[in-house]
Point group: C2
């Protein structure tokens, strides 16, 4: 059995993704993936042979899950932070996926210039949630860049996605529910027309915490608002749908 400890650095740990024997390297002090990444990967519905771009991949979680869930051709994952790129590359290598996933240390605003305009079938993103003027933050920290709009705004993500996508290509995003209106407007302005929405609630009777949106480049207006997704039932147990996603695993955070 392969000794995975050769892949990790001090402060990091290896977590099991409970799917296709995948493992991921995480550092609890910088960034651990959450339920949003898992939901996005499932929501994305990549088709066989598609070419996928993951904008702001962090430690590579969405790229890894997409490869585990769908027989895509290749995932190009873009991340501006060197430390996270390094961690993501080691996770990719550890899983033997170096031929399927390429990690690019790149500002997503220049992603299309480097990876090709109009070349992707699907662009995924779990963008920074918080406007940069909210909350206390240390702009030099890995976590701040990942959570706040320091390196890129929502509009940057939409513009970059539109450039990367073929006509009729899809962008799939997960975002904080309280920014739903901005997300939909920003996508429309970038000519990414929202076509499928799903609201995520922690349990029945609560406000949505996250929103999942699929938008299609240059599509006609008209969106399907899918049934709500509840993370837990009223009694606090994981909902049947989440059980299905996690297959009884321990990913729920």
């Amino acid at each position: 059995m392969l000794d995975e400890s050769v892949y990790i650095k001090p402060g990091e740990r290896i977590d099991d993704l409970q799917r296709a024997s995948l493992r991921i390297i995480q550092n609890p002090k910088t960034l651990c993936f959450g339920v949003d990444a898992v939901l996005l990967a499932h929501f994305a519905r990549a088709k066989p042979g598609e070419c996928v771009c993951d904008l702001g991949t962090g430690n590579g979680i969405v790229a890894l899950l997409v490869c585990a869930l769908y027989p895509v051709r290749h995932v190009h994952a873009v991340e501006i932070q060197a430390q996270l790129c390094d961690m993501a590359r080691r996770s990719v290598a550890m899983n033997g996926l170096s031929s399927k996933i390429t990690i690019h240390q790149l500002d997503l605003r220049s992603a299309a210039d480097r990876l090709g305009h109009g070349t992707f079938d699907l662009v995924l993103s779990n963008p920074p949630y918080l406007p940069k003027d909210t909350g206390l933050l240390n702009p030099s920290s890995t976590l701040a860049v990942s959570r706040h709009e320091i390196s890129c705004s929502l509009s940057d993500v939409a513009t970059a996605s539109a450039k990367l996508l073929k006509n009729r290509g899809r962008a799939a995003l997960v975002y904080r529910a309280d920014r739903t209106a901005q997300l939909l407007s920003t996508l429309s302005q970038a000519r990414l027309e929202p076509k499928r929405i799903r609201c995520v609630h922690s349990k029945p009777g609560t406000d949505a915490c996250l929103i999942l949106v699929e938008a299609v480049k240059l599509a006609r207006p008209g969106v399907v608002v899918r049934p709500p997704l509840f993370l837990r039932d009223s009694d606090g147990k994981a909902s049947a749908e989440m059980e299905q996603l996690y297959k009884g695993g321990t990913l729920l955070v």
Copy 2:
């Protein structure tokens, strides 16, 4: 007992609103109110003493329900079609609400010039759902004007609402769920910031059929996506929440 037949014309009928002894005159050949009007009136949450405008009131259903539900100061209801204004006025008179509700036969695009700019606390609208280039329609018919964007576009409704409202005043709208993205973008463009959203599903597990949105004039971005509203339970019976709205009545359509 008052003989209500003096209020109605051939082809019309009087329906009981099951609330505060209210009755409404309807003509099944032109327009009968639906669940959307009932949901909008409940969603609107008018406060005591508020001045309310209902844009595109049709037969007056939302104006009547708002008066039944909330101790508002006055409802100014705007409707472009003479036949519907006539029907709405007779419903208002029949219910003894002529001092509370005024029906204005008016193009909503000139509503602010006639009723006052920046004078309303709350504007309600159940706008035409269908772009005018969709579906077969007879542009001369009452039903076509009510259902299609013939006399006004969604953007006209948003612009008119923004003019009528005080700063921090609220617009509450009900709309087809498949036009959610356009509705939110159009409101934002009119500087009506979406602050509260509710998706309406016919039953659990189905796509949303309607969306309810409250937007606040000149507010900061940030919206609450409230729990979904299900019209019926999985077994097809009216949901507890709808039972509550209708108080066991027969309004459900």
